[in-house]
Structure formats: C-alpha cells, structure tokens
Symmetry: D4
Subunit: 240 residues, 8 copies
C-alpha cells in the first residue's frame, strides 16, 4: 500500500482510511475481526457468554455474509433456536453448548487430533475441544474416561495415542492424566484443566497447577475449562 | 469559626454543635455527607447494593432538597421505578444499573475523558464509568471492543487516544489493554479490571494483578468492576 | 486409680499428683511425653527444627533413661556430633538430617512398608519416611525415581508394589504418582507432597492439592515434606 | 497369559484383545472398572455428581449384573426413585445423598470403624463415611457433636475411642478435633475437613490446613467433604 | 481549651499551636506520640524492625525524658548494647529480642495474665507477650509446651487456667490450642498464631485461619507472631 | 466430687456416670452443653445455620427447661414462627436473623458496650453483635455509618467512644475503621470484618487482613461476619 | 512522513527504516526508548533491578547523549560509583537506592506534589516517589509518620494536605491511610502499598487489598513498593 | 516382541526382562531413560537443580556412552568445570546456567523457532528456551526487550514474527506480550511467564494468570521460568 501511495495511485487520506477500516467491522458494541478467517481459512468465532442474545445474533448476521464456518461457544438452546432462523445449517452440540454452522467441509489439518478425557464429568469440556477442532477442518477422535486411577484403561487404548499428530488431554481433580499421556508419546500434548471436582480442587486450580508442573516436557496448558482454546491451538499446530 | 468564638459572636456550645451537625445529616441507618457536593459541585452518590430500596429512597429524598446531580450505582429497574416517582428527571442506564438525576448540566472538566474497553462483556463496567464521568460534568467518549488480540482495531482508533485528557481502560481476562494504551499516550490512564472471564481469571484477579504489574508507569488501578471509582477519579483529575 | 482412692489406698492429693506428673516430665521449655513410647513400644521422637541444640540435648538426655529407640528429625551434622557424645550408637542419616539411636531391634510391623518416590530430588523426604518406619520396627524397601512421565519405570517394578502392606508415595511437582500407584494396588497409600519444583509448584502446594484430589480412594495425604509423619502413620497401620 | 501365548494356547491377537477388554467395560461416556470389585470383594462405586441421571442409570444397570454391593454417592431423591426401579433393594441415605444396594452382607473388616464428628452441621459428611464403610463390610459406630470447645463431651466418650481399630474424624471450622482424638489413641486417624463454617473458613480451607498441620503424627487427611474417601480408606486399612 | 479561648486567656494562634504540637514530637523520620503514656500510665513503645539503629536510638533518647517504662520490640544484641549506654537499667530478653527499661514498677493490672504456648518453638512469641504484659504493670505467668496432641499435659495444669483473669494462647501449626483452652475457662482468650511449622502451615496462615474459625466464642485473634499486640491488649483488658 | 468418693458418699460408678452425663445432654445429632450457662449466668446459644429446623427446635425445647436467656443466630422468619410456638416471648431481629428469648433481664456487664459500624451495609453484622451483647446482660449502644472516608462523622460522635468500656467495630471493604477508633480510646476494641464489598474485597478477606495488621495495639479480630462472637467476647470482657 | 513519501522527498525504503529505527535504539539486551523523553520533556528511566551493572552502564551511556534528566531506580552504592564516573552530576539517594542525574532544572508541574507516609519503615518507598517526582520537574513536599493509629498527627498537619495538587500516600500494614487522607481533600490520591509488616500482611498484600477497597472514590492504587510509579503518575497528572 | 515369543524366538522370561530393563538404566538414586533419545533423536536431559554434583556427573557419565546431544539445565560454573572433564565439548551458557554437549549437529526442525522476550530481566529464561531449542536441532532466533509498553519496538520487528514456524514468548510482570504477539501471527505461541517483577507479581503469578487468560486462542502456557519446557515443546512441534 505504501508503494501505491508513492506512485500516486492512492491518496494519503485513503491509505489511512483503509488501514483503519479494512480489517474489522464496527457494530458499536463489537468490532468483528474478519481478518484471520479471511487470510487463513479459519472459522469465525463468537464467545456467547457475557453477550446478550441480540448481540450474538448481530455478530453472526454479519459473519454469514462471508463463506466461512462459524463457531459460537458457550451458547444454549434458546440462542440456538434464534440462530437457526438465520441459517438452517446451524447445529447445536448440547453437552458443551457449542453452536456450529459448517459451510466449508474442507480438511485442512495434516493429521488426526485426539481428545482424551479423564472422567465422565469432563466430557463437556472435551466436546468443546472436539467440536472446535472439527469445525476448523480436522479429523478428530475421542477417547473418554481413561483417568489414571485405572491405568489399564489407558494402556488398553494406547494405539490411539500413537495415531495422533496432536493430543488434547482434558482432566479435572488432580489433573495427572496429561503427564502420563505425554510420557507415552512424542507429539505435543495440550492439557486442559477442568473445574470438575470439589473441596480442595478449588474449581480447577488443583488440576491447573498439576498440569503446569508436569514432569513431561511436551505438555502445555490452557485455561480451566477452555476446550475451545485447546481445539483452536491444536488446529493451528495441525496445519503446520 | 474559632475566630467567631474568640470575638464572642458564637458560643462554645454552638460551635461544638455546628462542628457536629453541619457536615452530615443522620438518618439512623445512614449519615448523609452533603459536604463534598456542597463545596465542590460534585454530585451526591448512593451505592444501592447492600441497602434496602427503602433506605436508598430515604437517602435520595434528602439529597433532592439540594440542587446537585444525583448518581445511584448498581440499582435495578424496580428501584428506578420507585425513584422516578420522586423525580421524573431520573434516568435508568440499563447496562450498568446506574440511575441518574441530572439537574446541573454544567461542564466542569477541562478536557475529554475517554473510556476504552477490551471486549463486549466489559461494557457494563465501562458504562458505569462513562455515566459517572458524565454526571460529574465532563465531556466523554467511548471506544469499545479493542482488545489486544487484534491490535489493528486499537491502532485504527489511535487518534481518539490522543484527544483525551484522561483515559479509563476497562478490561477483564488478562487485563493487558491498559499497558498497551498507556504506552501510546502521555496522559494518566486509570485501569479497571473486570470480573469477565472464567477459570484462572478468578473473578477478575488475573486482570487486577496484570494491571498492578503494568510496565507502563502512567497507569493506576481501581477495584475489580469499579467503573464508578474510575469515573469519579477521572473527573477529579479532569478538573485540575 | 479411682478405685484405689475409694479404698483409701491412695489419698486424693496423691491421686491428683499422679494424674499431673506421671505421663510427662517438665523441663520448663518442654514437657516430654513418655506416654506413647511406654505403652506402645513406640520410639521417642524430637523435632529438632525450632529448638536450640541445648534444648534438643536436654530432651534426648532424659529420653536415654528409658530403653526405647530415639528419633531426632531435621537435625544436622553439628547436632549429631553433640548427641553422639551422649550415646555412641547414634547414627546420622545425611540426606534427611534424621538422627537415630536404635536400641530396640524388634520388628513390630506385620508386613513390609514400601517407600516410592517420583524423582531424585524427592529422596531426602523419602529417606525421612524410610528411617522413621525402620526405627519404629518395620521391614522397609525403597523404590526411587519412578515418576509418571516415564511410566515403564514404574510398571517394570510393579512386583514391589504388590509385596507391600502399606505404601508411602513421595512426589513433588504435579504430585501425580500416588494416584497411579494407588490404582495398581489394594493397600493403603500415604501420599507425601514435597516442596520440590519451582514456579507454579508454589513450594509444594501444587503437589499437595493434586494428592488431595486423587481419584484413587485408597489415598490419604500428610503435610508437605512430612516424611516423618508418613513413616509414623505407616508404622501405626502396619502394626494393626 | 504370556505363558499361554508361548504354549500356543492363545493367539497374540486374542491376548491383546483380552488385555484390552477384560478389566473394564466401555459405555462410550464411561469405562466401568469391575476389576477392584471382582478381585477384592469391594463394592462398585459411582460418583453421581457431574453425571446425568441417564448416565448413572446406565452404569448401575451394568453393575447389577455382578453380585457386589453398589454405592452411589452424592445422589438425590429423584435419582433414587429411578434406581429403585432397577433394584428394589436400593436404599437412600438422605443426609448424605448416598444410595446403596446391599447384596453382600459379609463382614470383611477385622475391627470396628468409629466415625467422630465435631458439630451437627458436619453430620452429612460423617454419614457418607459411615455408609461407605458399612457397604464395604465393616462394623461401624458414630460419635457426633463432640467438638473441642466442650472437651468434656469427648472425654466422656473416650471408651468408644479405645474400642476402634480405625477412626475417622470429621470437622469443619478450625478442624482441631483430629489432633485431639489422635493424641488419645494409638490407631490411625483419618481426618476429613468439611466446608462447614463461614468467613475465614474459606469453604473448608481452614479445616484442611489445620488437619494437614496436625501435631499428632497418626493423622492423615483426605479432601474437603470427602466422606466417601475416608470410609473407603478406613475399610482398606481395616481389612489388613 | 475552647473555653480558655472564649475567655480570652488563650489566643487563637496559641490554641492552634497547642493542638498541633502537644500530643506528639516530630523527629522528621518519626512523630513520637507521648499521648497514651502520659494519660494512661502506659509504657512508651518502639518497634525496632524496619528502623535503623540510629532512628531507634533517637526515639528512645526522647522517651527517656519522661518517667515511663520503655519497650523496644524485635531488637537484637547490637541494638541493646547501644541502648544500654543511654540507660544502664535496660534489659535484653534474648528469646524474643525485646529490650525493656523498667522505671515504673507499679502493678496496674487487676488480675493475673497467663501466657500459654503449644510447643517449644513457639516460646519466642510467647515471651514477647509475657515481657510486654510485665512492662505494662501486670502479674504474669507462663505455661509452655502443652499442645493438643498430648492433652493430659494441659489438663494436668488446668488450675493455672482457672487462676487467670486474661489468657494469651500462642500456637503454630494447626493452632488448635486456643479453642481447647477457651472451652475450659470463662475469661477472654487472646489467640496468637505463630509462623512455626512448615509446608502447609504457610508461615502461620494455617494457625491463623484455625483460630479465626474457633468454635469457642471467647476467643479473639491478633496477627501472626504478634506477641506484643497480645500482651498489650491483655494489659488493656486487665486494667478494666 | 473426688472428695465425696473418698468419703464413701459417692460410688465410683456414680462418679463416673456424673462426669459423663452431667455437663451435657445427648440428643443424638447434638450434645447440648448447659455447662456455661449453669455456671456463669450466660445465655444458651444455638447457631441455626447448618441445622434443620427440627434440629433447632429440638435443642431449644431442652433449653427452655432451664431459666436462662436463649439466643438463636442466623435464623429466619420461618424458624421464628416455629419457635414462637414454644415460647411466646421469642423475638425476631430481622436484620441479623437472630431470635432471642429473654427471660433473665439482669444486667451483668459493668460498663457499656458500644457497637460502631462503617457503612449501612454492615448493619446486619453490627446488629448481631448488639443483640448478643444485650441478651447476655449488657447496656449497649449503636453508632452506625461512620466510615473513615468522612472522618468528621466519627469525630463528631467521639464522646460516645469515650463512654464505652468495650467497643466493637464492624467494617467491610478496607476495614480501616477499627484502627482509627482504637487510636482514639484506651479500651479494648474488637474488630469484626464483614463480607461487604466486591471485587478485591474477596468476601471480607481484605477487611480481615487489614484488621489483623492494625497498627493500633488494642485491637483484636474475630471471623468475617462474626457479630455473635464479637458480642459474646465483649460480654465476657465487660463482666471482668 | 507519509506526506514526504507522497511528494517523493522520502523513498519508501527510507520511510520504513525510519519507522523502524527512530523511536528506539537497540543494544541487543535492551531497546532504549528515547521517545517519551524526546517528545514530552520526561526523564529517561532505568530500572536497575534485574540488570547487570554493565547493562545499566551501557544504557546510561546512551542516555547521556541527550540532555534529559536521568533516573535509575533500585540501584546501590556500587552502581552509583560506576555511574558517577560517567557523569559527576550523578546523585545517590541512599534510602531508596535511586540514582539521579539532574541536567534539566525546569519545573514543569503546575502545583505541588505531597508525599505522605504512615510509618518510619515506609520512608524508603516514599523517598523513591519523592525523588521521581522531583527529577520529573515538580515541587514536592514530604509528610512522614502520620499513620491512622494516632490521628491527631495527621489532623495537625492538615494544612499541607490542602496545599497539594496531587497527593501520594504510602502505607504498609493495614494500608488505611489513603482512605483517611482522600476523605479530607478533593484532589487525586495515589495510594502505594508497601511490603512493611509481618505475618498476615503477606508482604504488602493486606495493604494492597485495603487500598483497592478504599471507600474514598478519589483513590487509585499502584503496585506494592512502587514508589517510582506513583511519582511518575503524579507528575503526569501535575502537568495536565 | 509378543510375536517373537509366539514364534519361540524369545523366552517368556527374557521378554519380561527386556520389558523391565531395556528402556531405563538404574543408578539407585536415578533411573535414566534413554528411551526418548534412542527412538526420536532427542537429546538426553538432566535437571541439575535438586541433584548433588556427584549425582549429575553420574548421570552424564552414562549418557555420554550414547551419541546424543546432552542438555543440563540450571547448572552453574562449578558443575560445568566438573563436566568439562568428562567431555571437552561441553559448553556453559552463563545467563541461564544451561550446559550443553553438542555431538549431533543435525537440524531436525522444519522451520525457525523465534524466542521473544519482554524485558532485559527476562533474558535468562529466554536463553534457556533458545539453548534447548538449538540443542534439539532447530534454527532459532532471538528478539529481546520488546515489551508492550513501547509497542513500536515490537511493530518495528514484525517481519521476524512472520518468519517463524513456532514462537516462544517470555514475559514477567503483567505478562501481556504473548497475547499481542499471538494476535499478529497464525502460528502456535508458547507463553513462558517469568518470576521477574515485585510486589503484586507474586513471583510470576500475575504473568502466569495473565497468559492463561489470553484472549488470543493460539497461545498455550508452561510453568513460570520454564524456558526448558518451552524450548522442548517448540522443538516437538517444529518436527511435525
């Protein structure tokens, strides 16, 4: 663009305007960033929590003008009914509250993303990771309820661990599963602590600290209950 | 007053009485302080939370005898309906729960106060700051949803930053926005952490700690979700 | 004793005196409790930390009048030299700082106590547990450096796990080892978090919380670095 | 099994299959581990919290195929009504929310397990421990409301303390009772902090820390409100 | 004074001066408050920690002009040598680091103040309380090493508890002793948590929380290791 | 009693029985301690929170057999209706939820107890302290809404501070009021932090820590929101 | 610059270069930002802590090429000796460790900045604020040791409070002073918590929380011990 | 191996032996795991902290028998001198304390790993990450002192961000840099909080929480100061 200015093809004022307006769209209460999606084939994402249904609808309406996949996290059935009217392709994933509009079925990830979880109560977070990875164009697989107190369950499924290019491990309580899984593989492991537990789990703090102190060096950590972040990061890695 | 006593124009007993009674009015459950408002043209303020509607109404009733602006923070629609009967000028600001009675339109602040917020979910706190600054006699402007993950949105609006005499920056989650904004300007930045976030945000603790550790030295911090305090302090600074 | 009083064989005053004086001996700065040792064949124990060497020596001097084993925890070489003069049988356990005087070699525990530790840095705490269990009359065995990041090391030693009647598991960092071990056995597991680690281990807090949230129900926890407590409790269980 | 493979009696594929399938049963959302129960005469346990009623029912349905006792913790009346249809023997323990199906009345524990609690508000957790120990085949006894502020109540019941082989002590607020009880006996004491209290109890943190710092070395600790864990561990110890 | 002004006996300026200068003396780095001592026969107190030896000496030099007792807390031998030159009556209390200059031997407290401590390591804090109470004109008594793990030691000394008008209880680790003591008496109990302990004592936090959650309602708490505060408050109560 | 046994007037068995049964009454879920009340003219107290209405009623029914005042804290209107049927003298204190049955009007405290609070929202806790002190036989006075941000309100009421023998100061948010009040008087000040506040008040933690660190040495602290404890302790001190 | 490019006076490449190089200078281990100083007449600042003396010297050497004041915080005598060789004008402020090189004596602040501190131990932090404000071109005044436990000291100096345009209040322990000061004035108050205190001050946490919860709305807070930040922000406000 | 057993080529006993002995070597105090290195061309790693020099030397001695690169983290000069005698190729990286023995120069990573740090004080941790990535066979680049308070420094270097396949961002204080960097790129960002800071940084907690709450979804986090973990994980990702 600087070159265009130099050649006189673009006035200075216009250049400044473009810089200002191009990459996002201003709704007053939100500035939608089409940037990532435009450039990288990523989906457009809305975090529903903390927004009014009208705000979410407003944002989704704009997003539908492009042809990308859309992911709304932490929604509910009411919001889903509202969005379904905008696009009948919308799907509701009840366990995690995610809503997806899949319009681009292309697989962009090079390998498989495996989502492992420790207990039945961790499934909602695991599903958010799974849905995110899927809507971002990855082959995914789930392996649930393989916590460390019954190690034979994990060992019995170890072939799935070896098949994956990126592994997401979701666990609450003591959060020990990522260390064990990471010790069995040579690929990156994204650990997601959950708020599952009671008492001294302090709403996921115990699991979070455990994962941050993992003695397996191929582990990194995202926020408590952040299935979306884990799925997103796994997708970014899987496209490398 | 001591001089009056000396000259015999005021009895010792009366002097003691005045000292005791003048600056506040005693309702039993509350001692209303008209002092600040009287002396400085400040509005009279009631924090509704933790008071019964009857208590708030009682306090507002006394305040209406003076001619100042009145600000009730953290109210709700029920309280508003009750107060509107006392004065039809009362306005309800739904997002933040603030109720205002504007009777003195005078602009007392010397420059403009800019309220910046990081995400759509931070708007309620930002609005409380905005309404407070406005009712205290300032020109104000809002700049919303310019979080650090999409820096071009903030850079695209940088001229607004340069126009302000005091800037309030409202952010939850990692609370990084005040540091970035403060690095771009030479005026005071008041940082307001919000309880927006989940998991390791610990209801605003992460944002609070981030802001306290800001590497930009023109930043100071108020309590989590304390939009009122930020708006008040900004007004005090803007009158200097 | 009440009966003796009834029968006139013991004056009321004497009874009160006995009640007052028998079970402990008063040194001013310490009241030595010979009670447990007397009744149960337990060793006499002194925690050296927080006492002056003279105080420790004073206490040990009294203890030597009985014929029990003596255990001094958290001592150092200087203290050892001082105590060796009181009894040449004294032994110094350098890694943990424990000093023992073994005078009663009798094995009182019914089975074997196994002490497992996760990493080389956890050995000092593990040794304190081992020495305590030994001086309390148990057969003991150590299994070191079998942390969960390399599970094959633990699996390769699993026969030792099956041999034990009580297992002590010592681990710092994420503290995941007790859950894994406990899932492999049917005996009680005493978990000892250590302050080994850095950053978000918060001096053992991460390991402590992890262990308290263990998904294996045959696990209980003692204080951070409390090898002594684990060894003592294991001995109490092993005598049942 | 390796030997069978060697002798040609078992194909490699079948061996792998057995290793994979035998010890647990896969319901998709849960992998039921019949292992412990099968081998050790332990009950089968489901933690209801965090599972949907349908999931709990699915798991219990499978468990009913074996002949073990079944324990569902943290249930409620609705869940109980649902499970009672599966087996009329199901019992609901209202204070703790535990549901039991007792089909194996055999006493497996060698001595008596005593459950002590500090205050009336701690009874729900104490009952969970009691029910767990009972369904695992132990003789149990309860001793309630004997907190340390009125020591004569505890001293008046001290004969019960001397009768027990394992003692569970349940206490909220300052959590001092386990230290006092443990100082009066020579058997293992399992301390259960409860979330009973307010203010600086921080939902059980004060009691938890107090118990972890107990000056009585025959004390170990489980998670806040973890009556189940205490009852389970006491049973494991009582079978030694 | 107002009356004097009224009668013309005191000029307004002088009145203002008196108000400003009388109650404290300004050394630049410190404003010495002779007020309390003057009015109430209290000693003059300096907290040595955080002040340079020269600053402490400067303050003490001024204090020596009055005839009150002087108490310097958290000093050391070097400081003592320096202060002894100012007044040979100065005494050093080695365990707690307190330095006293007793010039007024009058007993002002109505009853006896008893200082109880749980373990030998708590003695330094207990001694600070004892010395403070003594220098403030009270009869005092010490009862050391009577922690709750060996309750018979405390019960054996219970007559001392009944003799006291105010009781100070000093304890680290789980901090259970104040609850037990307070349950045995009808007088006020001032609880002092100490930083004695390790691991999950978190430098006295466990003891502090325990004491704040005491189930005995005649207990109040001061800061961790604050023997001085406990001794001071006990003296204030004992003069009532 | 020992003497009676000696003289043969009391059999050993009876003595043991008396020791066991006299001081408390066993309802199964609660052991009522009539001890304090009997001996010292204290009221009988029930903490309603954490007990079922039936349990509270059961306890109160027994208490009514004696002639003491009864205090039930943290009750509600439903419970009050139930208890009023047991004794028509029962009174409900709506702000604090306290229920009292005053049957003994005797004043036992020697001086006046003053209850000061910082803000209108702190009144419920202040009232609990006031009601407790009253039912325990003290003359009491309230001084509300005199927080440190408007110091003239407190200074204007300073004569009330000088009239009191014991002062209770109730404050939330930064909890600064006890230090200021204590600096103005020579009597004991009992500080009660409240959970009033938001954000970084962390449900009273900020006020609690502030009070524990008070630079006024005549301050002690009770648990967050513990108006009862403060009123009780003030009464104990006021009887000295 | 864009305009220059447009007119052909500046090549695109050069423009990019300028953008890249102008505002900071790259030393490898540090990128010196002359920007603020250049534009606003601010001093150049180095935080010595965490840098080697050689690194600090390297940075200062570059800074000396411009004509601004230089401020090095948290230095020591050794560093001072080294820097004095670079410029004999360098001054060392021993209490706070600040080193200044004053070359521009111009007063830029419009009013006076007052630095208030609570106790003698808070002086080092107060001095850092004072020196910073001074080197940034302000008239400053100090008011030390006026903590809230002896309110008459503060009231006696209240005329100084009324003279200031911005007030910095430095306090450790309970951190109550900023609320009290802010209630007496109508100007902005910058609160600086210090790590002065012990036990439950948790290295300044108590003071920090207290200040964040101030009931005076003209208070904002900076990091614990951050005298520099307070002085800097006060200067920014004082130039408005 | 199972197949070999089946075919009779391997005895059952030998198979068990291999399973047990192959993957690690037992030194008593450590079980060296050659596994990863053998299979994947990874270096062999020793964490020096918490091990005696003799223990480190013993482990390194065994590692030198293989031909892999060796990395010792958190060492010092003394340890380096000792290890240099074992292999003259050993190199000491003074800032981070890392010691490397590079024997395999092969580049295994597909792209470039960029290490960004916020301030000069963060360099030691950044260097540990850099050295780790280098010794694991990656092309690496450093970009230091580009904190968010002076955003133009980061923007001026943005071309380096776009060149990298994986980015490590190291920051203390508020830890805002990873969010900003991650918002500018489409590759994975590994955030490393450092303990750089003071006061409310709480030794890295502020930075850690900030990073966990990043609003950029392509960010994951490792432990405070864990440069090694970041470098290791980046290498694992860069080989995909």
């Amino acid at each position: 663009m600087l070159r265009q200015v130099r050649r006189g093809k673009l006035s200075v004022e216009d250049a400044v305007d473009r810089l200002r307006n191009l990459p996002y769209e201003d709704l007053g209460y939100a500035k939608i960033d089409h940037h990532r999606a435009l450039r990288q084939g990523f989906p457009e994402v809305v975090l529903a929590r903390g927004k009014t249904p009208a705000q979410v609808e407003g944002v989704v309406r704009r997003m539908l003008r492009n042809r990308h996949n859309i992911l709304i996290t932490r929604g509910d059935n009411t919001l889903f009914e509202r969005l379904r009217k905008l696009d009948p392709q919308a799907e509701f994933h009840e366990l995690s509250g995610a809503i997806t509009v899949r319009r681009d079925p292309k697989i962009r990830g090079k390998g498989k993303i495996l989502v492992v979880c420790a207990g039945t109560s961790d499934i909602p977070v695991a599903e958010e990771a799974l849905v995110t990875a899927e809507v971002m164009g990855n082959r995914v697989q789930a392996l649930y309820d393989v916590g460390v107190a019954g190690l034979h369950r994990l060992l019995g499924e170890s072939r799935h661990l070896r098949d994956a290019r990126v592994i997401i491990v979701v666990a609450g309580m003591e959060g020990a599963l990522p260390s064990v899984v990471a010790g069995m593989v040579g690929v990156p492991v994204i650990a997601v602590p959950t708020s599952v537990g009671y008492g001294a789990s302090f709403r996921g703090l115990a699991a979070l600290l455990g994962m941050l102190n993992s003695c397996s060096p191929n582990v990194c950590v995202v926020n408590i209950d952040n299935g979306f972040g884990a799925g997103y990061l796994a997708s970014v890695i899987n496209r490398l």
